[in-house]
Structures are given as C-alpha cells and as structure tokens.
C-alpha cells in the first residue's frame, strides 16, 4: 500500500539534477494573438477548406458575434454559410443537428453555454446518441461552441461551468481549451471531427493575447482532441486544470517556484476523452496531485480525475491524498467580493499545495 513512501518533498528536490525549460519558451518569441482571433481564424480557415462547414447561432452574422468571435465571417461567406438565428436555442440546435445528420458540418454557436441548457436534449439525445443507436450509421459531425464557465459580475444564471455535464456523456467529445494555440488547433480539429464535439470557450479569455508559434499560425495547425499538454514541467506536485483554471494554476506555480516548489501544470485541453495517461505519468513523477477547476465540486472534473487515479496504479505513487480545488459549492453571487471568493484564486492553489506538501 501507499502508506509508506521514502521520497519526501526534499528527497525529490535533492535528487533533481535536471532542469527543463518551460514549454512555452519557444512560443514566447512568436506573434501574440487573442483567443477571440484564434477562434475566428480557425472557423475562417475551416470554412474556406470545406464548403459543408457553416456557422449558425444568435448574432453570429450581421452583429459580428455577440462576443465578436465570428467577426467578418458573414461579410466573407454570406447568408448561406453564416446564419443569424432567432433566440430559440432548442430549435436551432435541433436544426443544426439535423443538418449534420444529413451531411453538413455545422458549427452551432451558443451565445453562452448557460443558454445551451435550453438545447441540451439535442446535444445529448440527438447528437451524442444517434451514432450508437443507428449501429454506426448516422454519425453527427457537429460542433457546439460558445463561452462556458464563470464570467464577471453576471450572477448565477450566467456563470456556470458545464464541463462535467457534457463530459459525463458517451458519444460526445468535450474540449475545454485554455489559450490561443489551444483554441485554434482544437477548434479546427473539432470542426474536422466526424463526431459531435462540445467546445467550451471562456469569455474572460476572449480578449487575452497569447503567443502563437509559427506552426500555430499555419492553416494546417490542428491539435489532437484527447491529449493534455504539460504547460509547465515540475517535479514536486501535479496541478491538473482546464480552461481559465490553467491560468490560475500557472500563476500559483509561479509563486510557489519562488519558494522552491516546482509544480507540473497540466492543461487538460480535452475533458472527454480525458488524458488520464498524462496525469498518471505526472503523478508517478511528482507523487502529489491537486486538481484545479472553476466548476462545482460535486461530480466534477476533479472528482473524476481523483476517482480514476484512486482506481489505478497511480494511487500507489501518491505520497498524500489527492485533493481538489474547485468553485465553491454555491450558485455564483453577483457581489464582487463574493464572486472572487466563489472562484479558485492562485492563493487558494498555493495554500492547498503547501498543505499537501506540508510546507509553510
């Protein structure tokens, strides 16, 4: 059993004679691009590449997108391929799904995923299950995309992470990208994928610039769905996160690095499939695991990761119980101080890491 472990935190630190640079170091020299533009270029390139790809949703055409993600696409592709819908999520999600069943490649934009609850029947029952029910006959190549998770100052109905909701369902692929490279490479992959993909963006990150490597700027840049990325290697503890929580984790890792604690930060990128292999490998190395997410704790992504680690060999590599940092288990409050208190901050991650590693 994993009750006695000879490697203490300092034991590991002493043994570590190698140092690996940040995986982002190469990209830092590259051209910065906002998440919004990365998503826009992904759609633009895929629409150019495949006549069957079209975009539909509320305000995607003439308004240029409620969050300007589809800016310019209507001018370029016209009414046929960029379709403004009325505010009827269930109806247009059903129409988009039907179009996919009949051979098109729709991108169905939800203004935010909060409103996709009105349409969730089509995402699950119509899109995710039809391939199985038809014994592999009718695959449904569709992307449901839009901002997900906590926004700022919009209260409970407009601030919620649906990652766990969709990741729960076989038949779906669920992507939760973090930065611009993730967004471009994974959205292109999602559009090309012959199965239904739920693509969870983050509103707060839309305007944030991230470096884009030359490779990422290419029209051929596609990232594999289902593979996590090690954003920052480290040897003392594994932080596993998705979407904006990756940033929270990286900031915490930076602070902890100043105290000699090297965190390995895993950006999940994809929630279904969940790249448990990458997490396992990391845990085998660091012997400590902390999941970080903005979503609620109950039946959440962190809960799933911890359960899978518990059920596997990786458990025996843990020096301490794995822990979760999550959004507080309450509806999102409007008041600023309370909102901040409901979402994991870097300090929360720092505190949890210190507690786990028994350092002050």
């Amino acid at each position: 059993m994993a009750t006695v472990k000879s490697l203490t935190l300092f034991g590991v630190a002493n043994k570590a004679t190698f140092a690996r640079s940040f995986s982002t170091s190469k990209a830092l020299s590259a051209k910065p691009m906002t998440v919004r533009d990365a998503l826009n270029s992904a759609m633009d390139e895929e629409m150019e590449r495949d006549e069957r790809v079209f975009l539909m949703g509320e305000e995607v055409a003439q308004y240029d997108g409620a969050y300007k993600v589809s800016r310019g696409l209507w001018k370029k592709y016209g009414d046929k391929r960029v379709i403004d819908t009325p505010i009827t999520e269930m109806g247009f999600a059903g129409i988009a799904t039907g179009a996919a069943m009949a051979g098109l490649r729709p991108i169905c934009e939800f203004m935010t995923f909060n409103f996709a609850m009105q349409a969730i029947d089509h995402i699950i029952n119509s899109a995710a299950k039809t391939f199985y029910m038809s014994a592999g006959r009718v695959n449904v190549p569709i992307v449901f995309r839009g901002p997900n998770g906590a926004a700022a100052g919009v209260a409970a109905q407009h601030s919620q992470c649906y990652g766990a909701w969709y990741a729960h369902c076989p038949g779906l692929k669920v992507v939760s990208p973090y930065n611009s490279e993730d967004c471009k490479g994974l959205l292109k992959a999602a559009i090309r994928d012959p199965d239904p993909v739920v693509f969870l963006e983050n509103e707060i990150l839309y305007g944030v610039q991230y470096p884009m490597s030359d490779e990422a700027l290419s029209k051929d840049f596609v990232l594999p769905i289902g593979k996590a990325k090690i954003e920052k290697p480290g040897k003392h503890i594994t932080l596993v996160a998705h979407s904006k929580a990756v940033e929270t984790s990286l900031e915490a890792a930076k602070e902890l690095a100043g105290k000699g604690i090297e965190c390995e930060v895993i950006n999940l990128r994809s929630l279904r499939p969940l790249d448990i292999d990458t997490i396992t490998k990391s845990v085998t190395k660091t012997n400590h695991l902390l999941s970080v997410e903005q979503g609620w704790p109950t039946c959440g992504i962190g809960a799933e990761i911890l359960a899978q680690i518990m059920e596997s060999e990786a458990f025996f590599h843990l020096d301490q119980p794995a822990l979760r940092i999550t959004g507080a288990d309450v509806p999102m409050p409007y008041a600023k101080s309370l909102e901040i208190a409901a979402i994991p901050q870097p300090k929360d991650v720092v505190a949890a890491v210190k507690k786990l590693l028994k350092v002050k």
Binding site: G91, I95, T97, G98, A102, S134, G136, N139, D195
Partner: protein, 403 residues
Amino acid sequence: MAKNVFKDFLNRKKHIIYNIEFWKTLGLLSKKNNYATEATFETKPCKLYRLEDAPSTSVTLNKEDALRMYTRMHTIRRLETSIGSLYKEKIVRGFCHLYSGQEAVAVGIKEAMRPHDAVITAYRAHGWTYLMGVEPLGVLAELCGRQSGCARGKGGSMHMYTDNFYGGNGIVGAQVPLGAGIALALKYKGTDGVCIALYGDGAANQGQVFEAYNMAKLWDLPCIFVCENNGYGMGTSAERASAEVNFYQRGMYVPGLWVDGMDVLAVKECFKYAINYAASGKGPLVIEAATYRYSGHSMSDPGTSYRTRDEIQEVRQTRDPITSFKEKIISTELVTADEIKKIDGEIRTTIDDATKKAKADKEIGLDELCADVYSINLEPKIRNIDPFTPLVHKRIGPAVNFK
C-alpha cells in the same frame, strides 16, 4: 380528350366512377379480362390555410399503383400485428408503439415522394422504416433486439434508420427541428429535395415545434411538417391538450392543409401538391393528417380508459384505411378479390417467415457493447462496469457522414 369528358362527368356525378359500363365506354377496360387498367377516384377535399389553389380531388390510379399501395398498407398492418404478438410473448421489450390504423398516412406520403426526399418521424416508426426500404426482417429483428435488425438490435422500436430516413426519434417533438435541419441541408446542397417531418397531435404543443416553424419560414426551408392527428396524445384527447385543434393552422404564418389521413389517395394527392410546393422554393407547409390509432398509445395501454371500444369499432368498420381502399379498387375492377386474397396470403407468409427468422436470430456479441460509440474513437480503453476489464471500441457501421 376522353379525360376531359371524364373529369366533367366526375365533378357532376361522382357515383359514375363506380359504374363499370362507363369505364367500358371510355375504353379503359381491357377487352381480354374485362378489368380496368386505370381508375379515377374522388377524394374528400383538403382544407386550406393561407393557400390559394388546392390539391386535386381526383386521383387516377393504374393497377400497379393500386396493388403497390395496398401491399404496402397491408404489410404494415401485418407487421404491426406480428410485433404486437412478439411483445405479448415478451420477445419485443420496452417501449413499442403500433401504427395500425394510420397506414394510409405513411403510404400516401411515400407514393408522392421522389427518391431524393427525406423523412424523419416520431416513435411510431416501424411502418416508415419498412417503406423507406428496410425489409420486414430488418424491422422485426430490430424489435427483437437481434443482429439482423436494421440497427443491429441497438436501437429498438424507436430508433431505426436507412437511406434518407433519419429515424425514429424517441423524444416527443425533437424530430421536428431535426427535420427542418435535414431540409436545410437539402437546400444547402443545392438539391430540390424536401424533408417530411412527422409528429403527433401530442407533440404539436412542444415549444420546439414552433421554433422550427419560425426558422423554416424565415429561411424558406423545404420542410413539410406533418401533424398526424390520431386524436390522442397518449390518453389525452386533442381537445383536452390543445387550445386550437386545427393543427394545419397552427403554423400561423406557415400555410397549411388538412387532409383525410384515412384515405391513402387523398394523402398521396395532398403530398404531390405539398412536395411540389416545398421543392419549388416556396418554403414550408404544415399538414394535418386526420387519422386514428387502433391500439393503445403503447403496449402498456389498453387504450380504453379514455375512449370507448365503440369508438374504435366504429372507425374500424367505417373508415379503416385498408378496407376502404380495398373496396375501392375491387369495385372499380382495378383489382380482383382473388388477387387481393393472393396478396394477403403472400404478405402473411412474408411476415410470418420474417418473424420466425427474427425470433431465431441471435443478439450481437458482447464485444459490440462498445461498438460505434464514436466514428473516430479517441479512447484506447473504454470504462466498463468495473475498472479491471476495460472495453475496446469497435467500428462496424458505415458512418455515412464520415468523409
């Protein structure tokens, strides 16, 4: 020439169509056997909503058409009867909704369809599956959950698919926007194909139905929304569930038609008109087909607590779509009673044989538990009930939208 004379006649004297001597004078009876090679029938007119011209009320049939339509309707009836028995034998499991009584709707629509038109329907899908090209064995074996089923026994009663047929949908009303989406795809691809999206009087009150009407009209989608009004949404009569029971008018800004759904010829003529309308770019239509279901809503419903046995008997005796059509084609001597008898026998044999085969067929192997969850699976191992024996994903079906 003779046709005009005949049409004239028809308008004034409907009874004349049953007069054999009249046919003889038009030379439409073959001298050899004294049977008509063609006959024209008068149907109940459609009710119109926001439409100027109406579908024709006179339908001309040749013998081949008549036999095909009869065969199709009767096959569906036999199929459903057999499925009902299989259910009572506990071979068909779960939910099972029979189409008996409503055959003229599907068969009439199919008569008017062109090969590139598409269909999506609700959970009462066995008859449509057969009409769209799945052999009776494919339907029966699917219901039995066996490997010869058209979905390898993975879909069951409500989830069957084939070319241009998108199910079978178990979620009441969900097929309506899906159908509008199929229509969008047909238009997008530049075909003149139309999609026929069927739902019941119960589903007609679902919000998403109105969402679909709205977008279909906004974008002139070639979608024909068909409300099969069989009088009851489960056990709730249309009057108790709908504030407006003229379902063909419920698209408001979408033109509509009411058709006698117990008359296969009326349905055929109505849909010839409707398909032409939708295919010519005029946008959607809402059609109410007035029909009746003989069985309960599903197998657990005897269907007698919310309606009387007399009501069912009355429809069976006076308006049965198969009996009435049979009488028409026999009385005009398009078909003989012997021919019908022979067809009935052949259908019985076909369905009985298929039923036997379906019962004797095997279920797919457990290795297929994890088949076709994805067309490209990305998980090397799929979680099983326990964590020790992971499943391996398999690909079997054609994945028609793969490339």
